[in-house]
Symmetry: C2
Subunit: 148 residues, 2 copies
DNA sequence: TATTGTTATACTCTATAACTATA
DNA sequence: TATAGTTATAGAGTATAACAATA
């Protein structure tokens, strides 16, 4: 297309367009469950790692700690997570899924996996593997550059 | 990694992390030139397509028209683009690079190409090609899903 | 001193509806 | 009627500095 040609094969913009398209479609899939990409991701990580602390969740999602506060509060408010003081470190908040949270996570994971299968349907298995590997490599290289 | 494992191979989040990392590093590279990812992209497209109209630029960048207004205004304000009424359609604005804009675009393109070479240095040529192809496929599939 | 979580704040990008002036 | 550009507005996500409580 003209757009790609005029952007001279700009890889970063291709990543942007693909990500925004996937995110928009994913949010469309998650909306009936009352979730978005970020709230879904946080819910799944906590469900798979009960007792996780907020700072660990922030690390897992690559989100700054201040931005984690509202995200967790939203999930607690929705009755999907609980946030309790950790007994061994009273600064920390341990996060646990509620029964409702676990049930919703199960449904949401199924919906997202189906969604991702549709999104990557035209890719062969090794093509998909190359995509995931290349994304991880590019992310690592970018972070190394930034913090060099 | 734990984070990836707990996200169950969530492709959309891998795309998010890679894109945000690349964008942050790219903006770091562009900042000394007074540009960001979006202003850079607009400047390059207009430089490569002088006389382009604002709505065509919006299409090329996959940006909604209202969001194009401030972006173009910023580039005009910086003396990099001019915006003139199109003689054949007095509703439209034709965009042209200034001499300053062309010169800055040349410098910025070189900087971005060097940046992208660094970011993709660990990928083989066919791996990079697969990445670009897969991104385009995923974007197309997501847009089809959304507008289905 | 360092870390956990928090507040406050600002910026960028995105999305939609409604308007104007032209066509 | 439809299109190009605009205005206004709202929302999501991100980033930094500074603080209190705790380690």
């Amino acid at each position: 297309m003209g757009a790609d040609a005029t952007l001279r094969g700009f890889c970063g913009y291709a990543m942007k367009r693909a990500f925004l398209g996937v995110q928009a479609d994913l949010n469309r899939v998650l909306a009936p469950l009352g979730l978005r990409m970020m709230t879904y991701s946080a819910l799944v990580v906590v469900t798979d790692n009960p007792g996780l602390r907020q700072s660990q969740l922030a690390d897992a999602l690559a989100v700054e700690k201040p931005n984690m506060v509202a995200l967790v509060a939203e999930l607690v408010q929705a009755g999907l997570l609980t946030r309790q003081r950790a007994p061994d470190d009273r600064r920390a908040h341990a996060l646990h899924p509620t029964d409702t949270g676990r049930a919703l996570a199960a449904r949401a994971i199924a919906a997202v996996q189906a969604h991702e299968a549709r999104i990557t349907a035209t890719l062969g298995p090794e093509e998909l593997q190359t995509l995931m590997h290349a994304l991880a490599q590019v992310e690592r290289a970018a972070l190394e550059e930034t913090h060099a």
